[in-house]
């Protein structure tokens, strides 16, 4: 398998005087893998995810996704990279309140230049496959936590990204919805979707990741999965 994501000697400082959030981290994620990054709060796992997503830049080192060195990209190029190459699922969903579930899903597709009709068709397919066909016209405020997270997953997948990033995807939903999300991620990975997951939920990591790495005080350590 080829490395789809590669972090090489990546360091990230938020304050020049303080300790680094990530300290000379190396990580690779092969295409089709589901890697879970685990660690306590403040360990640097979300920072790692942000760097891979191009939402932030490393202080030093190199972040390569699908052969593209993200460090060298402009903000506009990074935005385009996020649009088409990456889908992100957040802990708190980050759905836009004034858009319906369908409109939220359509949004990245439209930003990527897909026609409205094609985008709506793709959104309806995704929502249908995630069991949300009847909720497509609902606004986020009317959806349950689990439903919101599934809408967020649909939004992340609308542009058929080769990499799905998930940041504590079960952190803001109840146990039943958490299990649904876990099964969804596992199914996606089994279907070939590359997944990089950040969580402190061991059950989620075990349930859907093919490989687990621990991050603590900015350092990574590979864990052998059972």
């Amino acid at each position: 398998m080829t490395d789809f994501v590669r972090l090489q000697a990546v360091t990230k400082h938020y304050e020049s005087a303080g300790p680094p959030a990530l300290d000379h981290v190396d990580l690779t994620v092969a295409e089709g893998e589901a890697v879970a990054v685990m660690g306590p709060s403040g360990s640097g796992k979300s920072t790692l995810l942000n760097l891979v997503a191009g939402l932030d830049r490393p202080s030093s080192g190199e972040v390569v996704v699908n052969g593209t060195v993200l460090n060298r990209l402009s903000e506009t190029a990074l935005a385009r990279h996020r649009r088409t190459g990456i889908g992100i699922v957040f802990q708190f969903f980050h759905l836009l309140d004034e858009l319906t579930a369908r409109e939220n899903v359509v949004l990245p597709a439209q930003l990527a230049g897909m026609s409205r009709r094609a985008a709506l068709a793709r959104a309806d397919d995704l929502l249908g496959s995630l069991g949300l066909a009847s909720r497509a016209g609902a606004y986020p405020a009317k959806l349950s936590g689990g439903e919101r997270q599934r809408v967020a997953v649909a939004r992340a997948l609308v542009n058929r990204p080769r990499l799905l990033l998930a940041d504590e995807p079960t952190g803001a939903v109840d146990a039943a919805a958490g299990r649904q999300v876990m099964e969804l991620l596992r199914d996606l990975n089994r279907g070939g979707q590359t997944v990089l997951l950040v969580t402190h939920d061991a059950e989620l990591a075990r349930g859907c990741a093919t490989r687990i790495v621990d991050v603590r005080d900015g350092h990574l350590r590979e864990r052998v999965t059972a």
């Binding site: 920072t47 942000n50 903000e75 506009t76 385009r80 004034e98 409109e103 990245p108 930003l111």
Partner: protein, 761 residues
């Protein structure tokens, strides 16, 4: 208290941009406030002080003949005081230090009369015949000044010794002689000086008091004050308008800044309350952060306004020999500073009180983002429109905070109103200058003097005007020629000089817009400039008597922007006068420069010099006004733009999380800029659309008031300066202003790191 001050100072440091905006707008308001109020009060202060000190005459009325009944008129209803009758004559004075134009010479034994108590500023008052006391203006200044002890000739009839210099607040005479000075006081004119119970309408009072008496003319205190104030008063209306716009902007921006600071500081407020700050202390913190900025800015603004008024006020103080530099009274400075500080404190008080009343728990738990679902339906509707996503989101933004958006609309409205008003004002003033200089009608003038420096011993009037006229008329391209001369004379009853511009030949083409009546025909008719009618109280149809004794009927009113009372008449009415200049009208399409070259060549050997009018005409007052208007407009629109910037920055910071989400799903920095700029489009559009009628109305109000202050009536063409396309373009300035204000926040949002934005709550 120290904790409150520290917290307020910290807030100022934290919100540097907002503090800068508040400081700028307060400075500007204070400066224009001092300028407006200062000009209004200080322009008439020297006159008002002298008038009160001297118990000045509300009217100086000249009668032809009359005896006991003139003195008895002092008992008539409405008269509270009177002096006279004094014998008077209009006469020119001459002497070693030059000649003076004709003016009223009054026979008066006492300086210290109950009305018009003259102040003898040099020498002494008259003690008998053979003496003369000169007014300050008549005495002159510099090398031409007549001093006590000099001998002057009055109307070629008498040689008198100057014994004193005196001043009359209402300029009731050019000079005073002993009442028995019969060789000077020829004729049968008498002067009465009145004070009225109701001085606000002195013309009506004069009519009542002189009913049945042989009155031939009068000068009122209002006319003299207008004359003394000169053009300063014309600055007042537009400076007041700018000051009011500035103050409104101050209030709006302060409300917005403090309200924004309160919303942005909810958590801080909660923490402060949990630490033991009382509601009053919280309120004081938010008022304090405005006061810390506004007091020094107000002081600086007052100082700037104070200094800016000095050159404008110099001319009125010169008229009254006020010692030292003229300036705005310190009470005005204090009043404006107090007013501005009070106003912004009150503006800050509303949101500051809200901060004080906020419950600690709510303050800590409520985030910065707009709460509830304000405008959600509209935002959803706009987001669903088939528009690029960034635009759809942007258009919906103002509905999330309708109150703040409304305030921003008003900021844009005030900014664009300023632009509309200033554009119209500048266009009108340019037309005033152009019309006053008559450049279009009279592009060429031929002076009856040799070109270049005057030769030794040269005197005017030696050139062969008939020959010059013939040459001009024969020149290809010439359509009109009129000989012109101007001289100061007097008008019986009017104590100030009257400028007579006399024309040889038809001059109705010479660029004087006729406002009322008709052009003069013959030597006994004249048309008058609006200022002459305003200053002398004359109406079209009235017959006036010139100092020469000639009676002239005013048959029309023309626009003339000169500062003197002027009439235009036929040169035939002034015997012995020849043209000093020829006004020349040219056929359309004539090359002015080529024409001048040919004419100069044709005039070789004659004492005449042809020049383009544009090279000889300039209007300094209009230039100063346009400069001031441009400066104030740039400052006010900048402040309005800063107001928009402040609001958009607040809103953008509040929406930073949403922007982070959009960035995370692929919105580019360019699209984020479009989003932010779109968010102010509706605001700019509405503000601009509302500003156009407001600015239009302000122009329609201010210009006639300015003209009225200068004693002018404006032709409609000077008011009609707005073309439909201009108004549309000016309305579009709202979008431009709003967009300019949104540029910085837009760039900030575009640059904001998505990861940081997503962390923001």
């Amino acid at each position: 208290m120290r904790a409150v001050l520290r917290a307020a100072a910290a807030a100022v440091r934290r919100r540097r941009m907002q503090s800068l905006v508040v400081g700028a707008v307060v400075l500007l308001s204070a400066a224009t406030g001092v300028l407006a109020l200062g000009l209004m009060i200080a322009s008439s202060a020297p006159f008002d002080a002298a008038f009160a000190r001297q118990n000045g005459a509300h009217a100086a009325v000249t009668f032809e003949g009359g005896g006991e009944e003139l003195a008895a008129s002092a008992e008539r209803t409405g008269v509270t005081g009177a002096a006279g009758p004094f014998r008077t004559v209009d006469a020119a004075l001459g002497g070693e230090h030059g000649d003076r134009p004709p003016g009223p010479v009054v026979g008066r034994a006492d300086a210290d009369t109950t009305v018009d108590r003259l102040e003898v500023t040099g020498g002494a008052w008259l003690t008998g015949p053979g003496q003369i006391v000169l007014s300050r203006d008549t005495a002159g200044r510099g090398r031409m000044e007549w001093k006590v002890g000099d001998t002057v000739t009055v109307g070629d009839r008498a040689r008198l010794t100057v014994v004193g210099i005196a001043s009359s607040a209402t300029s009731t005479a050019a000079a005073w002689v002993w009442p028995g000075q019969d060789d000077v006081l020829t004729g049968d004119h008498r002067q009465m000086l009145y004070r009225f119970a109701d001085p606000a309408d002195p013309d009506a009072a004069v009519d009542r008091v002189t009913a049945g008496l042989p009155g031939v003319g009068s000068t009122t205190w209002l006319a003299v004050r207008t004359e003394v104030e000169g053009v300063i008063r014309t600055f007042v209306p537009f400076v007041v308008a700018f000051a009011v716009l500035g103050l409104l902007l101050s209030v709006l921006i302060v409300v917005n800044v403090v309200a924004g600071a309160v919303v942005a500081g909810f958590r801080t407020i909660g923490v402060q309350k949990s630490l033991g700050f009382t509601p009053a202390q919280i309120t004081a913190i938010y008022c304090g952060q405005v006061l810390i900025v506004c007091v020094p800015a107000g002081l600086l603004g007052v100082a700037i306004g104070h200094l800016a008024a000095v050159p404008l006020l110099r001319q009125t103080s010169d008229a009254y020999q006020v010692t030292g530099a003229p300036s705005v009274p310190l009470t005005v400075d204090a009043l404006v500073l107090a007013g501005v500080v009070l106003l912004v404190t009150l503006a800050a008080a509303g949101p500051a009180l809200r901060a004080g009343r906020l419950s600690a728990v709510r303050a800590i738990t409520v985030g910065r983002a707009p709460t509830g679902d304000r405008g959600v339906r509209i935002r959803r509707a706009l987001a669903a429109l088939p528009l690029p996503r960034a635009i759809g989101f942007g258009l919906g933004t103002p509905f999330a905070r309708p109150a703040r958006s409304a305030v921003t609309v008003v900021a844009v409205l005030l900014g664009v109103t300023t632009v509309v008003f200033a554009t119209g004002l500048a266009a009108s003033l340019t037309r005033v200058a152009s019309m006053g200089s008559r450049l279009d009608a009279v592009p060429v003038r031929v002076g009856m003097h040799p070109a270049g420096p005057r030769p030794q011993g040269w005197a005017p009037g030696t050139a062969d005007t008939a020959a010059v006229r013939k040459i001009i008329e024969a020149q290809p391209g010439t359509t009109h020629v009129a000989g012109e001369t101007e001289q100061d004379t007097t008008m019986i009853g009017y104590t100030e000089p009257l400028a007579v511009r006399a024309y040889q030949g038809d001059a109705s083409w010479a660029g004087y817009p006729l406002l009322r009546g008709r052009w003069y025909t013959g030597a006994t008719e004249a048309v008058a400039g609006s200022r002459m009618l305003a200053l002398t109280g004359t109406e079209v149809g009235d017959t006036i008597t010139l100092g020469t004794g000639q009676k002239v009927t005013i048959v029309g009113q023309v626009f003339s922007n000169g500062s003197d009372a002027t009439i235009l008449m036929d040169m035939a009415g002034l015997p012995g006068v020849t043209p000093q200049i020829f006004d020349v009208g040219l056929a359309p399409g004539t090359d002015h420069r080529a024409y001048i070259e040919q004419l100069r060549s044709a005039l070789t050997g004659l004492e005449a010099d042809a020049q383009l009018s544009a090279e000889t005409q300039e209007n300094e007052v209009v230039a100063v006004m346009i400069g001031l208007i441009a400066t104030l407009t740039v400052l006010l629109t900048t402040v309005a733009g800063l107001g928009v910037l402040n609001t958009v920055m607040l809103t953008t910071r509040e929406r930073v999380h949403e922007i982070g989400v959009l960035k995370s799903v692929g919105m580019t920095p360019g699209q984020v800029r479009v989003l932010v700029l779109s968010s102010v489009t509706v605001i700019g559009l509405v503000g601009g659309a509302l500003a156009v009628p407001l600015g239009f109305a302000l122009h329609g109000w201010a210009l006639p008031v300015m003209a009225g202050s200068a004693g002018l009536v404006l032709p409609q063409s000077i008011l009609d300066v707005y073309e439909p396309w201009t108004l549309v373009a000016l309305g579009a300035c709202g979008i431009v202003l709003a967009a300019l204000g949104a540029l910085v926040p837009g760039s900030w949002a575009a640059r904001a790191r998505a990861s940081a934005a997503l962390r923001a709550e």
